[in-house]
């Protein structure tokens, strides 16, 4: 009973912290601060996993998200000029619309999950070691195994990696700016950004990039 009570207290505590941090993630205009808050949110999630009795998952959460992703994020932020990453001032309308949409989504959400049938359902009996279970399941090819998704995930990661490398490479040998295009006209377009953006600016009523739009507003 006491354990249950403690768990409840802890649960609400973690949830509260998590909500507070999450709010500061989206509301903070300083990106680094937001990143740190995000780290907190992710950590809090790990806490929830613990409470639910999935220590392995909690560990993975801390390792991958807190230790990996967010740290990477912070590095990225620190390596770039912070001025660029400052969130621009959202226009009033957009602000309201966003709040409305988010609020409505949240409202609907509450309504929907209110009657979640299995919310209080008796817990499925947990195996003694969820780590082992996870390991077996991930590598088994049978009806209970997840070997196939596991392999597919590896493909995703590989793809992301390759893509990341290609895109992140600063310039490639033989890129547009340095070589002569096939056709003289193609040169215009080869200065791609300029070419298409101009056309677009003329043609499409909607400007392409938010900064342009905001600048125009401001």
């Amino acid at each position: 009973m006491v354990g249950q009570a403690v768990a409840n207290v802890l649960f609400y505590l973690i949830v509260a912290v998590s909500l507070w941090l999450a709010w500061s993630v989206v509301s903070s205009r300083r990106i680094l601060r937001a990143a740190v808050a995000l780290m907190g949110v992710l950590g809090a999630s790990a806490g929830l996993y613990l409470l639910l009795g999935f220590p392995f998952l909690a560990g993975v959460q801390v390792l991958v998200y807190v230790g990996g992703i967010v740290v990477l994020l912070v590095f990225a932020v620190m390596l770039t000029r912070s001025q660029e990453l400052l969130e621009d001032h959202p226009s009033d309308l957009r602000h309201k619309v966003a709040v409305l949409a988010g609020g409505a989504f949240f409202g609907v959400h509450l309504w929907a999950l209110r009657g979640m049938p299995s919310a209080r359902a008796p817990r499925v009996s947990l195996p003694a070691s969820d780590t082992e279970m996870l390991g077996r399941a991930l590598l088994s090819t049978g009806a209970d195994g997840y070997a196939l998704p596991f392999e597919v995930v590896s493909l995703i990661l590989l793809a992301a990696m390759i893509g990341g490398i290609v895109i992140a490479r600063k310039t490639q040998p033989g890129q547009a700016a340095t070589t002569e295009p096939v056709h003289p006209l193609a040169a215009d377009a080869a200065l791609t950004a300029a070419g298409s953006a101009e056309q677009l600016a003329e043609s499409a009523p909607a400007p392409v990039s938010p900064p342009v739009r905001e600048a125009a507003h401001g």
Binding site: R94, V97, L100, A101, G102, A104, V108, A112, P205, P210
Partner: protein, 675 residues
């Protein structure tokens, strides 16, 4: 129909000849060889005329029916247009006294006019075209005359209208001729609308009756005259309950059909086209606008007389309009300066005569019917002669204005003599043709108890004599006024004005002479004996014979007085006429302007129909209806712009949309899901 002679059973040959000639001349000869075209066309009509006389001869020798009347034959009937069972149109030939009579008149006058025209239009550009249409006209007119049903009548009716249109517009580079031809066609077309509606109304009820009769109607079609004039059908038609604006159905049908006739026969107020139609070549006026086509209206009423007789109101309309027109036209006729126009108004007036004669007729007093047809017969000859005479004069002096003529009897003795003959005939001087028929009409009016109409007839007879002799005196008597007048206004015609007018060539005066003979003789043809209104029971009463002196004397007297007045005013000192005109003042001016009817029509068409209806409709169509179409496109485009505006380029907005989409999805899904 047992043992009909060749021509009676092949009456279709008579219209077929001009038709064949029309095709031959129009398609082959016209471009190739013009003189030959004229010759062929003329020959064909002469052949048709010969056949008609032959046919008339054979017809009159047919055995009479039990009731003593000449038989009614339909020797040919070929299905042409099948609307539906019981309502199919057969092309055929209907031979009865009036159609045979008219057959003779039409072919004879047409043949003479064809002959005359070869001289009149000699060397003109449109020579071939002219004869093409003249043939077409002759064919259509014959088809009209022989029509055994209302639709064939209507078909040929329209065709004569069209050929009349083309012939009036013969001088198509002359704007006045062009507008006159349009006017003639459109006005008569407007009237034909009535005819068409009449056919629709009558067709519907007749068809209903026809369908109800079953076997009793076998072999007959609903719109056949033979069917429509059956006593049992007529009584059923008469019994129809339907009312439209308080008018009985039968009356309505009859009046509508009469409208068509009134248009063709230029009854008031549809008369305006006829005087203008004089823009056509004069032989055309003689044939179409005097002798034949314009009497089609009279013929139509006579042809469907049993229907009119079944409706007293309809006959009343026929009579009143006819009488009024005859007086009205005679009044205007006294004031016109164009020789052909005067003749045109006299035609109007005479047509009015024929109409009111029909209007006063009834089964009790059938004389009007006979008289009308008789007058139609005689009028055709003397009026054609008058026109050909006028044509001869115009041919010689190149003007229509009587005040530019004068003294022509010296130069054109034959024309003068024949013209005088015809003028006397129209004035009703015995023993010329006009006298007999006019006498009969007046008698019919008097004896049927329409005294007012009789009075009007008498008055018109006098006026006719007056204005006819007015143009006669002005044209043929006195001094030649042509040369100096001509000098004043047109120097380009010098060569004409210096030469003296001379008599027309033989191809022109010979037809006139033939018509002159007919003018003298036509009155003695026993038309009244042959053409009689057959009562519904088919038994003819005793024929009325001889001249009724009580009518003949006042009639002739009126003519004489008219001539005397004309002599007084126009034969001698022209000042007399001028002072009389001055005394009449505005009244005269109004009459001379033909009571401004042309202007009224012009106002209605130009200002009201064109400017107030057609113009706004065209505008409405472009601006409003089409505008709505364009507006649809515009709104669609606007929608496109609006949708595009949501494409702000900001991911945040897109996210908002996405979330809202989820929310909306939940709402809709929840609303539609049955628990």
């Amino acid at each position: 129909m047992p043992d009909l002679s060749f021509i009676l059973s092949h009456a279709w040959l008579i219209p077929a000849l001009p038709l064949a000639s029309f095709l031959l001349v129009g398609l082959v000869l016209r471009p190739l060889h013009k003189p030959l075209a004229g010759a062929v066309a003329t020959a064909a009509v002469f052949a048709a005329a010969g056949l008609s006389w032959w046919l008339a001869f054979d017809y009159l020798h047919l055995p009479k029916t039990a009731g003593g009347a000449l038989p009614v034959l339909v020797p040919t009937s070929v299905e042409w247009l099948r609307f539906q069972e019981g309502l199919s149109v057969h092309l055929g030939t209907l031979l009865d006294p009036i159609s045979v009579m008219l057959l003779v008149v039409v072919t004879t006058v047409s043949a003479l006019v064809h002959l005359y025209s070869t001289g009149y239009l000699h060397g003109e550009d449109g020579y071939g075209r002219y004869f093409t249409f003249l043939n077409l006209f002759t064919f259509s007119m014959l088809g009209l005359v022989l029509a055994p049903n209302l639709v064939q009548m209507y078909v040929c009716w329209e065709l004569v209208g069209a050929s009349s249109f083309f012939l009036i517009g013969y001088y198509y580079d002359r704007p006045s001729a062009v507008s006159a031809s349009k006017k003639a066609f459109i006005v008569t077309r407007f009237a034909d609308l009535g005819f068409l509606l009449g056919i629709l109304v009558l067709g519907y009820y007749a068809f209903t009756i026809h369908a109800g009769m079953g076997a009793a109607a076998a072999g007959q079609q609903a719109l056949d005259f033979a069917f429509l004039t059956r006593p049992d059908v007529l009584s059923q038609l008469q019994a129809l309950q339907g009312q439209f604006l308080g008018i009985g159905t039968l009356t309505l049908a009859a009046v509508l059909i009469y409208t068509g006739g009134a248009g063709k026969s230029a009854m008031f107020p549809l008369h305006i086209w006829l005087p203008d139609a004089m823009e056509g070549p004069t032989p055309v006026s003689a044939l179409i606008h005097a002798a034949t086509m314009v009497v089609a209206g009279v013929y139509l009423v006579a042809r469907s007389f049993p229907i009119f007789a079944a409706s007293a109101e309809a006959l009343q309309v026929v009579m009143v309009v006819g009488a009024f027109t005859s007086l009205f036209a005679a009044t205007i006729g006294c004031t016109q300066d164009d020789i052909k126009r005067v003749l045109a108004f006299s035609t109007l007036s005479q047509l009015g005569y024929m109409m009111f004669a029909l209007g006063v007729a009834s089964y009790e007093h059938p004389l009007g019917y006979t008289a009308s047809m008789f007058h139609l017969f005689t009028h055709a000859f003397f009026k054609a002669l008058l026109f050909l005479g006028a044509g001869s004069v115009i041919h010689a002096v190149h003007t229509n204005n009587i005040w530019q003529m004068g003294g022509l009897r010296k130069y054109m003795p034959i024309t003068h003599g024949l013209f005088l003959l015809a003028t006397l005939a129209i004035a009703g001087i015995p023993p010329l043709a006009g006298f007999f028929s006019k006498d009969e009409i007046l008698a019919a009016a008097l004896h049927s108890g329409h005294t007012v109409v009789f009075g009007v007839g008498l008055l018109v007879a006098g006026m006719t004599a007056f204005y006819m002799f007015r143009i006669y005196f002005v044209t043929f008597w006195g001094e030649r006024r042509l040369s100096h007048l001509h000098h004043q206004d047109d120097h380009s015609h010098d060569d004409h004005s210096h030469a003296d007018p001379h008599e027309s060539p033989a191809v022109m005066w010979i037809p006139m002479a033939v018509l002159g003979l007919l003018t003298i003789g036509a009155g003695f043809v026993p038309i009244p004996e042959w053409v009689r209104l057959v009562p519904l029971d088919g038994k003819l009463p005793e024929a009325h014979h001889g001249v009724d002196l009580a009518v003949a004397i006042p009639g002739t007297l009126a003519g004489v007085i008219g001539i005397a007045l004309a002599w007084f005013f126009y034969a001698g000192d022209p000042q007399r006429a001028n002072s009389a005109v001055l005394k009449l003042g505005r009244f005269y001016a109004v009459i001379k302007a033909k009571f401004y009817f042309d202007e009224i029509y012009l106002f209605v068409t130009k200002s009201i129909i064109f400017r107030l209806i057609a113009g706004p409709i065209a505008w409405f169509d472009r601006m409003v209806v089409d505008g709505l179409v364009n507006a649809t496109g515009w709104v669609t485009r606007l929608g496109g712009t609006a949708v595009n505006a949501s494409q702000t380029g900001q991911v945040q907005t897109y996210g908002s949309w996405l979330m809202s989409g989820v929310v909306l999805a939940v709402v809709v899904l929840w609303a539609t899901t049955r628990q």
